[in-house]
């Protein structure tokens, strides 16, 4: 039996087509369809129910920071309270168990985990921390994202003082006589916020956002939005056999952590020093043909050189787009490659990511 999020009833009321996703019943789209939902988010403000994702709270102080640095390849000592970083949970071979966002709180850390990975992540992290700390994968909280150029205006009408939040920073705010936690972040390539609040208040909160002009957006548009923004989907573009270096996410591992101790750190250092065999790249087919995950990639001499991991039609860039892994010497921008779709070789070019230029708030560093 699939779980339902606290917004299930609201999804149905708004005409959602529900699908099973990571053990939850989630909306794939609403009545207006994926393309309209996608464009609405880029131009206005889209609401995403991401309550299926894990919200892992770990309480502790300086020792916890040291212990978490032995797990995640990120610099937590330099992190200010309420600041967030993108990072990974890795295995000893440098492969990725999950990609995640870690935020420093007053009395510990909040880690946002992918829905399909959260239970396994919890077990791995718990084991590595040797039972020294309280870990709480809090299911009493919903997680709502609001994304798009009007996200700050709409959210600002429901919660006061949010406009001062900087990108990849969070804070406590007041809503309906209770404290809620908001970070300025998201996964669409737009400015936006993620709001963590009590399950009991989630429906009322989202209803208010809708009344101020935002619209519910399904997983279908979430996928086209993140792909246009060049962002990875765990399970498609990242997995246990792929390292952050191969995934072209080297930027997420600070120099100070290259060579220091965490699972897979020796392999990460080796890959940074010596290079990798395959690399994640952006791919633009020359026609409208869509190259989905697992499409084989060839060079001009019919040699197989890699595989597509995500592909779709980008509603904002108005063309077919894909990401995949190719042998390193084919990774430079504008390299001509061929995608085998339904038995035919479709010409394509390696291109820079993102496909869609990000729209984060000015003056702040992009992820």
């Amino acid at each position: 039996m699939n779980k339902k999020t606290p917004l299930y009833k609201l999804h149905i009321q708004h005409g959602a087509k529900m699908v099973e996703f990571a053990g939850y019943q989630m909306p794939i789209q609403y009545k207006s369809g994926i393309i309209q939902e996608h464009k609405f988010t880029r131009e206005n403000a889209g609401i995403f129910d991401v309550s299926h994702m894990g919200q892992l709270f770990i309480n502790g102080s300086d020792h916890l920071t040291d212990d978490l640095e032995k797990i995640f390849p990120v610099n937590l000592k330099n992190l200010k309270t309420n600041q967030s970083k993108y990072s990974f949970l890795m295995n000893d071979k440098g492969g990725i168990y999950d990609d995640l966002i870690i935020t420093k709180l007053k009395d510990g850390y909040l880690i946002i985990l992918n829905a399909a990975c959260k239970k396994q992540d919890l077990e791995i992290i718990k084991k590595k921390l040797n039972g020294k700390y309280d870990l709480n994968l809090d299911e009493s909280l919903s997680l709502i994202a609001i994304q798009g150029p009007k996200a700050k205006d709409v959210l600002g009408k429901v919660v006061s003082n949010i406009t001062n939040l900087k990108f990849m920073n969070g804070g406590e705010f007041e809503y309906d006589n209770s404290n809620i936690y908001i970070t300025r972040s998201g996964y669409t390539g737009e400015d936006g916020f993620e709001i963590s609040l009590d399950n009991k208040k989630a429906e009322k909160f989202v209803d208010q956002l809708i009344n101020y002009g935002a619209k519910l957006i399904g997983l279908g548009a979430r996928d086209t939005l993140r792909l246009e923004a060049g962002l990875c989907l765990y399970g498609n573009d990242l997995d246990e056999k792929t390292s952050p270096i191969e995934a072209n996410l080297k930027w997420a591992i600070p120099k100070s952590r290259v060579g220091s101790d965490y699972p897979g750190s020796d392999i990460i250092k080796k890959q940074i020093d010596n290079g990798v065999k395959t690399l994640r790249v952006g791919i633009k087919p020359e026609t409208r043909v869509i190259a989905r995950g697992n499409t084989k990639i060839f060079d001009q001499n019919d040699k197989e050189i890699g595989k597509v991991t995500s592909g779709t039609f980008g509603p904002s860039v108005e063309c077919s787009i894909a990401m995949g892994y190719v042998e390193n010497n084919y990774s430079p921008t504008n390299t001509k490659i061929f995608l085998e779709v339904r038995g035919k070789k479709v010409p394509a070019n390696v291109c820079d990511l993102p496909f869609y230029k990000k729209n984060y708030v000015k003056g702040e560093k992009n992820v």
Partner: protein
């Protein structure tokens, strides 16, 4: 023009003389969602009843288009290849897929009429 007939694969077909026009139903487009890619058979090729005669892709997935009867492709609708969104706008009108010179008129008898198709579509979509 003849009565519109329907296949279990959600294609519609009309007949004018010995030339049939084929497209996908409104019900099919509603199930597929926003269509972003269409591929049609080449003019002059022969297609067999229930064989693949094209592809449509939505933002979510790819689906084959089948031909409900056999024949030679005499015309294709290039406008839906250039702008696949037209298929969602008018699937049972302007967004026809291809025209066939019919090989065997009796194949049409195996297809459903409008009423039968509507019942079929309702039963199979849940």
């Amino acid at each position: 023009m003849s009565e519109v007939k329907f296949s279990k694969e959600h294609e519609w077909i009309t007949l004018e003389g010995e030339v049939a026009t084929i497209g996908i139903t409104k019900h099919a487009t509603e199930m597929l969602g926003d269509i972003v890619f269409a591929e049609l058979p080449e003019k002059g090729t022969n297609v067999e009843k229930d064989g693949t005669a094209g592809v449509v892709e939505s933002t979510k997935a790819a689906s084959d288009v089948y031909t409900p009867i056999s024949g030679e492709v005499v015309d294709i609708n290039q406008s839906i290849v250039d702008d696949p969104a037209k298929i969602n706008e008018d699937p049972e009108g302007a967004a026809w897929f291809f025209k066939l010179k019919v090989k065997d008129l009796s194949e049409l008898d195996t297809l459903m009429n409008k009423e039968e198709y509507e019942k079929f579509a309702k039963e199979t979509s849940s």
